[in-house]
């Protein structure tokens, strides 16, 4: 079947099987390999992308369900050379170690900050409960998200 989406602002139009998962569609049809597959069982959040601005696990969604939607992957967050504040905050606060969970963490954090612009530490920890970091760098991840929240509030 034919699936049309807007990924990171650009129109995508591909012929896919109905059983194609959104993550496969993004990585294989669109060629955007920034989105990672971790557990492949809906648990780890490594595959998190934004669907019409909200975080979703792309390993647990069909590409067909995203037909017509706007998707943001990690490749689409920066504005040209200028990083998104959440990306900058992860960089500055050592919010990543091996980096495998990072694309998902960053996008989950963007969605979280959109819903709760002024989060407490508890809000961040709970809001990221669907994202696992095998390197267990949670303290710096939480620190990064809180720092990003502060930057983003300042910019408004």
């Amino acid at each position: 079947m034919r699936i049309g989406t807007t990924v990171n602002g650009a129109a995508q139009d591909h012929e896919v099987e109905p059983r194609t998962l959104l993550v496969q569609y993004l990585r294989e049809a669109c060629g955007l390999t920034g989105t990672k597959i971790g557990c492949d069982t809906s648990s780890c959040g490594a595959c998190t992308v934004l669907l019409d601005g909200e975080s979703v696990k792309s390993c647990t969604m069909l590409a067909a369900q995203a037909d017509g939607a706007a998707i943001t992957t990690i490749e689409g967050l920066a504005q040209g050379e200028k990083w998104h504040p959440v990306q900058t905050a992860f960089h500055e606060n050592h919010g990543l170690q091996c980096g495998y969970c990072t694309a998902g963490m960053v996008l989950a954090a963007v969605s979280l900050l959109d819903e709760i612009p002024n989060p407490t530490e508890q809000d961040v920890r709970l809001g990221l409960e669907g994202n696992l970091c095998r390197c267990t760098g949670y303290h710096n991840i939480v620190k990064s998200v809180l720092a990003a929240a502060e930057t983003m509030r300042g910019a408004k």
Binding site: M1, E17, P18, R19, T20, L21, Q24, D40, T41, S42, S43, G45, T48, L51, E54, S55, V56, K57, C59, T60, M61, L62, A64, Q65, A108, S111, L112, E115, R125, L126, G127, E129, G130, N131
Partner: protein, 272 residues
């Protein structure tokens, strides 16, 4: 992991969904948020031949004041429940329980109707709906019928829904902003309850429901009866496992679940 091949059709309305499922027969399945069905399909524990996607049936997503009760569309997402102002005022328990389902990503996709129709005894919202004596509206090719929560859950992943019936609406009484407690016990924040206990003041009485203590979500009738006869929370909670059939799995043994039910029911009763 990739699901077995299937055909995909998209419904634009409830009526179209029912006619499509009828057309494609027994092996066709509705797809709502996909948060329960797709993981099963990826493991090939479910292999439907056709998926009828309900994602575009937007007019089944609502929380409405219907006078003496609230009406909730089956396709209302957990996210919409946990942020509903109407629920905060008129049925706080449902809003609070929705916020405990899975994680943000799951709540952005999963729906209350999918949660109910799936019939998983480990899920949260069905227990709340059981405690609230909710009514489910089922629509089939021959018209619609209403089934009470008490008669709806039949067995493990088994409900009163016929294969060609669509759950369209959930009706709950107005139970107010407060007067409830949900004790969900799990090891990792995003997980299903190992055991859950919900207590709510409903209609002047106290209703208690249990998660993951048998093949279906259960009412702890023995606890409710003890309370009615004036028992203290501590004494009533001792009856929590009466009539249950808790599973034994990697997370917990039957004995441990029995113990948990008693402790969690006591905590819930003490908190309301």
């Amino acid at each position: 992991m990739i699901p077995a091949a299937f055909d995909y059709v998209r419904a634009g309305s409830a009526a179209e969904a029912i006619s499509l499922i009828g057309e494609h027969g027994e092996d066709a399945k509705f797809l709502a948020g996909g948060m329960s069905l797709l993981p099963l399909m990826k493991l090939r524990l479910a292999t439907p031949s056709v998926l009828v996607d309900l994602g575009r049936v937007r007019d089944l997503s609502y929380v409405r004041d219907a006078g003496d009760h609230l009406a909730i569309g089956a396709l209302t997402r957990h996210r919409d429940l946990e942020t509903s102002d109407l629920l905060a005022k008129e049925c706080g328990v449902l809003r609070a329980v929705a916020a405990q389902v899975g994680d943000n990503q799951v709540r952005h996709r999963g729906t209350i109707g999918g949660s109910v129709a799936h019939g998983d005894p480990a899920s949260d919202l069905p227990a709340a709906l059981l405690a609230l004596d909710a009514t489910f509206v089922l629509q089939g090719p021959g018209g619609s019928r209403s089934v009470g929560a008490n008669d709806f859950f039949k067995g493990f992943l088994e409900t009163a829904l016929a294969p060609d019936e669509l759950l369209t609406e959930i009706q709950v009484r107005k139970s107010g902003a407060a007067g409830f407690a949900y004790e969900k016990f799990n090891r990792r924040a995003q997980d299903w309850a190992i055991v859950g206990a919900l207590a709510a003041r409903v209609n002047g009485g106290t209703h208690v429901a249990l998660v993951n203590m048998g093949a279906i979500v259960l009412r702890a009738r023995a606890v409710e009866n003890a309370l009615e006869q004036g028992a203290s929370a501590t004494d009533a909670a001792r009856e929590a496992a009466v009539g249950t059939d808790p599973p034994s799995d990697l997370n917990a043994s039957t004995e441990y679940r029995t113990h948990l039910a008693q402790v969690l029911v006591r905590r819930a009763l003490e908190a309301i």
